[in-house]
Symmetry: C2
Subunit: 362 residues, 2 copies
């Protein structure tokens, strides 16, 4: 396996997305042989000592990186955060009870759809009126809701909560696209969950970090596959877990820890975001698509003021080795995703291209 | 990455299990860079052209290898076959209807548990009376059942259907541990499904092969995540699929095709099974644990007639580089799993160890 000819790609993909090169190297080695076991990581039992060690370490790293309070539990499951949308009402909604959601985009909307199939669902606020270009504020959560759900970062629309809503009811957050990008106060949440395929690792695993004291209160008889408490009691091994996705997530979390943890990730992410957003704001040719105060550090969405110039701009960034910045069809324009593993040098390349294009065509 | 020092392990693991060396090499390369894209397979969008090509090819290979009739559909999901246990009643059981199951072991039992949570469930036959050491025969399936479910191969207990039960109601089969090990007549089945982590690939993906005409008949309003028809309509991309597990499954299926398909797999598996079972039957020191006519070609379970000799037998096979043959705690003794990718040479090593041990201690 030679990496000598590998093209230098600046990977702004929205997810699955860039992972640290060190992680990829180790992840590839372990496919051939995992730590002198003579076996590939993907051809050994999930109940073998080596993999049990991986699972325990992955759980510990989630808690350590996020500074989870004593007693919080971690579970890794397949199915994506979308399966979480489906499981959450089953674990937290009492029959006849109601849930509260904020609608801030595609994935929040899918979570709401699942909740509505399960019971009464109050959408306490929505930014649908302006194509989800802002984060609603000043809303009220019904005090008798069984839980309150929101989406911390909206990958498609490029918005992000800067301050988390407070609530007297159990707080549940889908952090799929910004988990581990900044410190959070875990004790404020009954449940934080997210698909792995942004900052945590490859697609295929979903992490659930929760306060077990908030489970088992609905009186529902749950399917064991839907039951977070069951999965926790079985250490994520009620059935065969998504072994490799958990393993590469563990490597990526170890990388974050080695780099200085989520505080350092936040510092880097803030620097990258500032560099790009400052450029968007300075160059009249480009325009951000979201409310400035709600701009995501993870996904910067922007358009060209003259859409006719898009093809020639596209040619320029492609020539510079930039990949994955075409915007989602529901927003158009561009989206530069700047997850933890994206070096600021890649953002600089994009910024340089934008500058160069502006000069040529300004 | 050097493979020069890799120990030669004879991998009899029950799953996740041995994969072809060629597949592992390519799978490792693609972690570093996937087909000159400059990106790892795990850091590119699942909606990128290269990965869409992988998904389409994986779907095609399932249908091609199994000779599925025109119109059958393939879906890859996360969550394991255990999620299938949960989804099946939702997709096939009418409210107020009933399902029929055969109970042949741990995983059949879990499928039944899920079915019972969903509605009336008739267990038409069970081999629990003899610790699941045989496959029940001559049972009747109620003609008014919405579907009939069985488990083609029982990994833990080492039994396998040699002839599939016939039924006038839609037939559903969990083939997790013997899919692609032999030809099947797909047209007989409404749904065949299985976790990837035996013959198909690594843990993390589950394949569903089904006749879409048998879906949508229950009148239930399904969650989109539970709805096989929805996943099929979205080409397994309703949400982010388990990218790498699908990719390595595709490679493994391509390997099977290149080797001669499932007919050739069956020929090899039969030869391996004959070699081992003949040895078990010939040597008085060993004894098979299942009914001879129901012996699994995938998982051979056996015990020592004198259990006190186990520690010295264990030392011998470990010294020979054999891995993963300790039996499941619910059967004890030994279980040699001989999936598609296990070469007959590894079975020969085990047989030689058994012979040698018998001579020394006979």
């Amino acid at each position: 396996m030679s990496t000598a000819t590998k093209v230098n790609v600046h990977n702004f993909s929205a997810g699955p997305c860039i992972l640290p090169q060190e992680v990829l190297r180790k992840a590839a080695e372990s496919i051939v042989e995992f730590e002198n076991t003579g076996l590939s990581i993907i051809e050994m039992s999930h109940r073998s000592k080596p993999f049990e060690g991986v699972m325990v370490k992955a759980q510990q790293l989630v808690k350590e990186l996020l500074g989870a309070p004593e007693g919080y539990q971690v579970v890794f499951l397949g199915g994506g955060a979308s399966m979480g949308f489906h499981m959450i009402p089953q674990n937290y909604l009492r029959p006849g009870g109601k849930s509260a959601y904020v609608h801030t985009g595609e994935w929040a909307g899918r979570a709401i759809k699942e909740a509505k199939l399960a019971g009464e669902t109050v959408v306490v606020a929505s930014s649908e009126d302006k194509n989800f270009s802002y984060i609603p504020k000043g809303f009220e959560v019904p005090a008798d809701a069984d839980y309150f759900h929101f989406t911390s970062n909206n990958t498609i629309f490029g918005t992000q909560y800067k301050a988390f809503p407070k609530s007297t009811v159990p707080l549940i957050c889908d952090m799929s696209s910004d988990i581990f990008s900044r410190p959070v106060n875990v004790a404020d949440f009954a449940l934080i969950y997210g698909g792995a395929q942004k900052n945590m690792g490859p697609a295929g695993a979903t992490v659930y970090l929760f306060d077990p004291a908030q489970l088992g209160r609905t009186g529902r008889k749950l399917s064991p596959m839907m039951d977070l408490a069951n999965h926790a009691a079985k250490e994520s091994m009620y059935n065969t877990p998504p072994v490799y996705a958990v393993y590469v997530s563990m490597l990526t979390m170890q990388w974050m820890k080695d780099q200085g943890g989520v505080k350092e990730m936040e510092r880097r992410n803030a620097a990258k975001a500032k560099l790009l957003y400052d450029t968007i704001d300075r160059l009249p040719m480009f325009k951000g698509t979201t409310a400035v105060e709600d701009r995501s550090m993870m996904n910067a969405t922007f358009v060209m003021t003259d859409a006719a110039l898009e093809p020639s701009f596209d040619a320029l960034w492609k020539a510079a080795g930039i990949s994955g910045i075409r915007g989602h069809r529901s927003v158009g324009g561009y989206r530069a995703s700047m997850y933890n593993a994206l070096p600021i040098e890649s953002v600089q390349v994009l910024v340089d291209v934008m500058e160069e294009f502006s000069k040529k065509n300004g």
